[in-house]
């Protein structure tokens, strides 16, 4: 009878160890992580251009910590293009960056030369160079808030995501995620994320104990 319990405990230990390993592998994967988005969906191409042009989008909230900008730009050929981004408040440029590359996907990450240290409410200007046809993805809005090229308003706003500089694993993002979880909770700044982890761990431990204690 004790042997049976031991076999069950061993099965459980192996299973939970494999789960822990899977978690470590998953959480160690690196990727570009966001500081926020402009809340716009990509429902259509707002413009398709194959010549130089600048598109500016007003009323953007660029979060502190942003070190790169992800644009919804669909390249239909693999010809090289230059994409420059500027974060502006009034006439002042607070951050800028550019990227020259070939890409065939629907998104392009443009790193900024400097990371923003405070939230910025301003506008984002995107300058496209080169002769590759590029579609700008976004969703229809009213003219007042729409992106513009020169004096002409596009049919809507561009989809923009704001990224932290570089690539990070979940481990290095953990404290940031923990802080974000507390926003919108009754006690901002409370260890809500830690409590959630502890509750999940407790449920696993209690469940495992119950499974093994009457395993005979």
């Amino acid at each position: 009878m004790e042997d049976r319990r031991r076999v069950l405990a061993a099965t459980l230990a192996i299973g939970l160890t494999l789960l822990a390993l899977g978690l470590v592998v998953t959480l160690s994967q690196t990727a570009a992580r966001r500081t926020g988005t402009d809340g716009t969906s990509v429902t259509e191409a707002l413009a398709v251009t194959s010549s130089d042009g600048t598109f500016c989008q007003p009323r953007e909230l660029v979060p502190a910590g942003t070190g790169a900008v992800r644009l919804s730009l669909k390249a239909t050929t693999r010809r090289s293009s230059t994409v420059a981004v500027a974060v502006m408040r009034g006439r002042t440029t607070l951050a800028r960056g550019a990227r020259t590359s070939r890409w065939s996907g629907e998104q392009l990450d443009v790193p900024l030369r400097s990371t923003l240290h405070a939230d910025v409410v301003g506008r984002i200007c995107v300058t496209l160079g080169g002769h590759a046809p590029i579609a700008l993805g976004g969703m229809p809005t009213g003219t007042k808030v729409a992106a513009r090229t020169g004096r002409q308003a596009l049919s809507g706003r561009l989809r923009i995501e704001y990224l932290r500089p570089g690539r990070e694993s979940w481990w290095s993002l953990a404290s940031t995620v923990a802080h974000r979880i507390t926003i919108g909770h009754p006690l901002p700044g409370s260890p809500a994320a830690l409590l959630a982890v502890l509750l999940t761990l407790a449920s696993i431990l209690v469940g495992s104990w119950q499974l093994v204690r009457r395993a005979t």
Partner: protein
């Protein structure tokens, strides 16, 4: 690896063995006696469900559980006006709730899998201003169109934590109300365990496997972390399954008939969908009565008693709707499920319901976006579909998950084949459960058809099927037995570990969707 009897499980314990040992109000003595007869293992499994749901409630942003803002609004309305909402043409929420929703950017987040919650310092300051505004809490109409026609039991229960948090902000009240939902999730798992104890009495260890499998089911954890009347429907449905199984095992007594009636009454007073449980429950009661007393009219007195108890509160609500509350007699028919301005046809409804659950018919209009709804909507939804159904795993996860689900089905089927003599002997009970499932699925299908006829939209969401979760627990328990005595322990443990892994990675999915 045979699983034997658990020493803390006393199915046939004498009443005096469970008598209260400590002092206290005499009125609580029967409750304590009842609680003492519940095995420790059932309480532990329930605790696991509460802990897990509480964790989900901390991770899930406020108002991102389906229709949470509407269920909160109903409770708020009930608390301030002492009556359920009157169905109106459009929903209006209280200024207090509306300010919180705007500050949380709830509308911008829901349905948008690529848009996270608010993070910036500026948004946090706006949120704090919204929460500190001391705005009116009584000027909404209780989400009258969305949920206002539903019965009031769940909201009456939620009024308790709402009142407890009345000195705080919308978020304080939401957190307290979510805790009540987590507790209800625990009670659901408790009843699931008890159902398994009655339905599969020969393999006690598998009760724990089935109940833990339900406790760690991610969609169940997610739903019981939020404010949604579905949660109480899960509890009342699980209680109904347990009581029916008990009646099939021990016989239908007047006490059990009353208890079944009460469970059904609570279900019917929780959500309109509970009406789908009634045909199967009535079938079960009639089969029980006929089995006991033969084909005599007199035999129907206990089923009639149960049905009368089940329907009494509903009739009282209808009376109050018509006389005092100023609501349509059948509340839900005035909202999205009104049939007044559509022209339903039986053939069209049958085709719709077939496609709603199974396969798209050749040449049929594309009433649903999926070609194989059974897999794409229901099974995949059970594997992982959170938020407003927009938060999903990568496609390969659903393909891989088919393997363990297929193995579970095969092992459970093996048990039924190997023990076919037992299954045959209990065919009336099995027929009853099948009747409950069929009736409930038919009701949800018809409700979806009516909504589709109105709006062209589908309500195919797996959460609507979670009242049938005790049967999922039974599937897990049967699969464990199907492995045979030698492998039962290893297979049962593996099932629970897989359920834990499923739950943990689902929580990670939710975290990555909202916070990274």
């Amino acid at each position: 690896m045979a699983a034997g009897a658990q020493s803390d499980v006393r199915p046939g314990a004498a009443p005096d063995a469970a008598a209260p040992r400590r002092g206290g109000p005499r009125a609580l003595a029967p409750v304590r006696a009842l609680a003492a007869r519940i095995p420790t293992a059932a309480w532990v499994c329930a605790l696991v469900a509460v802990l897990n749901a509480a964790s989900w409630s901390l991770l899930t942003p406020a108002f991102q559980v389906p229709d949470e803002q509407s269920h909160y609004a109903y409770t708020e309305y009930l608390t301030h006006h002492w009556q359920p909402p009157r169905t109106r043409g459009a929903d209006s929420l209280s200024t207090s709730e509306e300010l919180a929703l705007v500050a949380l950017d709830s509308e911008g987040i829901r349905f948008q899998a690529n848009d996270p919650t608010i993070w910036s310092a500026l948004q946090q300051r706006q949120l704090q201003r919204g929460l500190d505004a001391h705005a009116s809490r009584s000027d909404g109409n209780g989400a009258a169109l969305e949920v206002g026609g539903e019965p009031p039991l769940f909201y009456a229960l939620q009024a308790v934590p709402y009142e407890l948090g009345s000195g705080g902000s919308v978020l304080d009240r939401t957190a307290l109300m979510r805790l009540l939902s987590a507790l209800l999730g625990g009670v659901t798992v408790l009843f699931t365990f008890l159902f398994l104890r009655e339905a599969l009495p020969e393999a006690p260890w598998t009760w724990t496997v089935g109940a833990l499998g339900v406790a760690f089911q991610p969609l169940f954890g997610f739903m019981t972390s939020g404010i949604n009347s579905d949660v109480l429907l899960y509890t009342t449905a699980a209680a109904t399954f347990y009581l029916l199984a008990r009646a099939f095992r021990r016989g239908l007594t007047p006490g059990l008939a009353v208890a079944i009636g009460c469970a059904l009454a609570a279900a019917v007073m929780t959500k309109f969908n509970a009406a789908g449980l009634l045909p199967g429950a009535v079938l079960a009661l009639v089969l029980l009565a006929v089995r006991q007393e033969g084909m005599r009219l007199h035999a129907l007195r206990l089923p009639a008693l149960a049905l009368a108890i089940a329907l009494a509160p509903l009739l009282a609500e209808m009376l109050l709707n018509a006389t005092i509350w100023g609501r349509p007699v059948v509340g839900a028919t005035a909202g999205n499920f009104s049939t007044g301005d559509i022209h339903p046809s039986l053939g069209q409804a049958a085709r719709y319901i077939w496609q709603f659950y199974a396969l798209r018919l050749p040449g049929a209009s594309h009433t649903l976006s999926s070609a194989i709804p059974f897999r794409d909507l229901w099974l995949n939804g059970f594997i992982g579909s959170f938020g407003y159904v927009e938060t999903r795993f990568h496609a390969w996860v659903y393909d891989v998950a088919l393997v363990p689900f297929a193995l579970l089905a095969l092992l459970a089927a093996r048990t039924l084949v190997v023990r076919r003599a037992v299954a045959r002997a209990r065919r009336l009970e099995l027929l009853s459960y099948a009747g409950v499932v069929a009736g409930f699925m038919l009701f949800v299908g018809v409700a979806s058809y009516v909504l589709w006829a109105h709006t062209g939209a589908s309500i195919a969401q797996t959460r609507y099927m979670l009242p049938l979760l005790p049967l999922y627990g039974a599937l897990l328990a049967l699969a464990t037995r199907g492995a045979g005595p030698r492998w039962m322990g290893i297979v049962g443990t593996t099932i629970v570990v897989l359920a834990i892994a499923h739950d943990v990675f689902s929580q990670l999915l939710l975290v990555s969707r909202y916070y990274a």
